[in-house]
Amino acid sequence: MYPQQLLGQLGKLSEQQQKLQNQVATGLRVQEAADDPSAARKIIMWQADKAAIGQYRENVNSQRDLAITNAGVMQQLKKLSDRANELTIVADGTQSKDALQHYATEVDGLIEQALSLGNSRFNGNYIFSGTATDTAAFEAIRDAAGKITNVASQGNSNVSSVEVSPGNTLSAQWVGSNLNDGGQVGLFRDNAQEIDVFGDLIALRDHLMDGNTEAIQNIDNDKLEAIEDHFIRFAGSNGSMQARMETQVASLNNQEFALTGMISREGDADIAETIVRLNEVQYAYQAALQSGAKIMDRSLMDYLR
């Protein structure tokens, strides 16, 4: 009978040794759900949360790329608007007709440039067409000489936003035009704000062509200044959006760090503790073997001849 008991004890001890050995080797305390069911459940949930955080960060990064693209467009728009504003100041009654027409040609260039900026693309999508990203945001209507006489807004004024934390969405997208009252403010054209970059530039060019310096000084100048302000507001909001995204990423990183710690606390083996326990079990195993051998060795047989 004794050998059976000894075998049972040795079996148990060697099973424990194997388990601890495995924990030391892998560094994981929870290797299967049965090791600690409630920890297993927590780990799965936290791992899902961690994966979600990684995804949120990617979402923020995709919007950050868009915001950087927007900032690039804005830089050029700002230059364009500066030059147009300069021209409204330079083009006064003292200028010759030739000089005014020369300026008009320059404004034509600015209009073309604005059009091309309005139809900027990012990842193959028109960035100022709202959610109609496969449609160019603006289409020029030209006269026989190829000059732009009008620019039609296409696309829409809806933006698509992405989730950056549970229930929180964010969008760095700008819309090119908003012909309604209210909603997303249009960058090039906005009814509520009375902004029409193309219309005002075309008017400036036409006034320059006609030598109507009075209109330039009295009307175009104000309008282009309003556009300048409008652009500055956009640039500002883009800056604060980027700052918000930085904060968001930092907060996601913190959460991820905390979750990693929590997962490790529940699921990882405390190496020092595990090794100490492994040693204990090994001693117990050896002791059982030795004492077993000694006890089994003795019986009355030894004393009979």
Partner: protein, 465 residues
């Protein structure tokens, strides 16, 4: 009569009795490692007395019987413990099988990058986010469809795994039913042999009885049995009140019948009474099959059904890049047949991501789908998909853990009883060696008696010369 010749006879009887004792000690020693053996003792008694008037003389010793040292109550307790152990053991084996079979899909622990169902769900959500960030990108659409396809395949795999486990356990149950019937036959035939051997005599067929005790224990590992014996030692076995063995005849046998759902049902034939064992291996197999496996299938199906319905509902209303609409994302009813819509696989541009026509950059539909993926589902008891999966894993883990500790406790309990029996019925080397010495010395003494009587007879014979 007595005298020298009588004394010689007495010496011879004594030698025989000590010889018997030695033989029996040898038999006991030979069976020292036989776990089913219960040690035997000879019972000796002084033989008849000779009455010679005032002087009555003993005639020595004789073997009355060989008795088996056995505790019937302990035997019956061990049988019922064996039934419980059998139940727990087969449940544990079943759960181990499940753990091994479903491990990779259920237990993502310890295997870096190994995909459990939760990983597939996470991947699907991640790829949805990518589509949402760039709704018109064909690459992200491809990736989303790949993730959805992988998830569907994984769910079908799980379903197949469960199916395989169910089949394996049905086979196991059928085999065990056959085994039970064979053991019943064996018990009946042992009963017959014992009856034959013991017929009319004072002899007890000790070794056959040992075999029967052992066979009954094997039987009680399979089903819980109730053993009664009448005054003549005729054995009757009942199982939950159904008479199964009466003496040398097997009265009822088991039969298993496959069912639409769950484990095969077991009946006692010929009277067709249903048998739902709560103990023994048969009970354990039915328990794993009808609770753990069935629940697992139900839960995986619940996740799959809800996923199919919810995703299809949102997707159906969205618009594809070419403004087409009205397609399902997944085809199928549950985990057994869930599949990604082949049309979408072939035409990623048909993935319906936008909530309005003509808006290729619109991500409202896919955003809704993301929200649905992360929301608590009424169909899953207000849990999210990941939560439902985590619960499934934790539940299985918990069953394994508690089964393991139940089994360990039970095994310890059984070992304790077997120890106790061993201390009563088992062969102790020390004791047998003592017996050996005792019989040897007694033999020597009796031999001495014979030799002295021999001397004395010689003396008498010599007197006559």
């Amino acid at each position: 009569m007595s005298g020298l010749l009588g004394t010689l006879d007495m010496g011879q009887r004594a030698l025989q009795a000590q010889m018997k004792g030695l033989e029996l000690t040898g038999h006991n020693l030979a069976n020292v490692n036989n776990p089913n053996y219960s040690r035997q003792r000879i019972e000796v008694s002084s033989t008849y007395q000779v009455d010679a008037g005032m002087d009555s003389r003993g005639t020595g010793v004789g073997v009355v019987t060989i008795e088996q040292i056995r505790d019937q109550i302990l035997d019956s307790q061990i049988r019922s413990e064996k039934s419980v152990t059998g139940f727990l053991e087969s449940r544990m084996t079943g759960l181990d099988y499940i753990q091994t079979g479903m491990g990779s899909v259920l237990n993502p622990f310890g295997q870096e990058g190994a995909g459990g169902l939760d990983t597939q769900l996470e991947n699907l959500v991640a790829s949805m986010h990518d589509v949402s960030s760039d709704p018109s990108s064909r690459t992200s659409r491809h990736m989303f469809l790949d993730a959805a396809d992988t998830l569907a395949t994984e769910m079908r795999n799980m379903d197949q795994q469960i199916q395989q486990l169910e089949d394996r356990w049905d086979d196991e149950l059928n085999l065990r039913v056959e085994e039970t019937n064979l053991i019943l036959d064996k018990v009946a035939s042992l009963n017959q042999s014992i009856q034959k051997a013991e017929r009319g005599g004072a002899n007890t067929a000790n070794d056959l009885r040992d075999q029967r005790v052992n066979t009954l224990e094997s039987l009680s590992e399979l089903i819980p049995i109730d053993v009664n014996s009448d005054a003549n030692g005729r054995l009757q076995i009942n199982v939950n009140g159904v008479p199964v063995i009466d003496g040398e005849t097997v009265v009822s046998r088991l039969s298993a019948e496959a069912q639409q759902e769950g484990a095969p049902a077991i009946f006692w034939q010929p009277d067709g009474q249903a048998f739902a064992p709560s103990e023994g291996r048969l009970g354990g197999i039915q328990d794993v099959r009808n609770t753990t496996l069935l629940e697992m299938r139900d839960q995986i199906n619940a996740i799959a059904e809800d996923l199919i319905q919810t995703m299809n509902q949102s997707h159906f209303q969205g618009f594809a890049l070419d403004d087409s609409t009205g397609r399902d994302l997944f085809i199928g009813q549950n985990a057994s047949d869930i599949q990604l819509n082949q049309d979408l696989k072939d035409h990623p541009e048909w993935l319906q991501v936008s909530s309005r026509q003509g808006e290729t950059g619109n991500n409202e539909t896919i955003s809704n789908m993301i929200n649905e993926m992360q929301a608590s589902r009424a169909g899953l008891g207000e849990r999210t998909y990941v939560e439902a999966h985590a619960d499934l894993v934790a539940q299985l883990g918990q069953s394994i853990r508690s089964s393991r500790s139940d089994l360990e406790d039970q095994q310890a309990m059984e070992a304790l009883m077997i120890n106790q029996r061993e201390s009563i019925s088992g062969v102790s080397l020390d004791e047998e060696m003592t017996q050996l010495v005792k019989y040897q010395r007694a033999f020597e003494a009796s031999a001495r008696l014979v030799s002295i009587v021999d001397d004395m007879l010689s003396t008498i014979v010599a007197m006559g010369r």
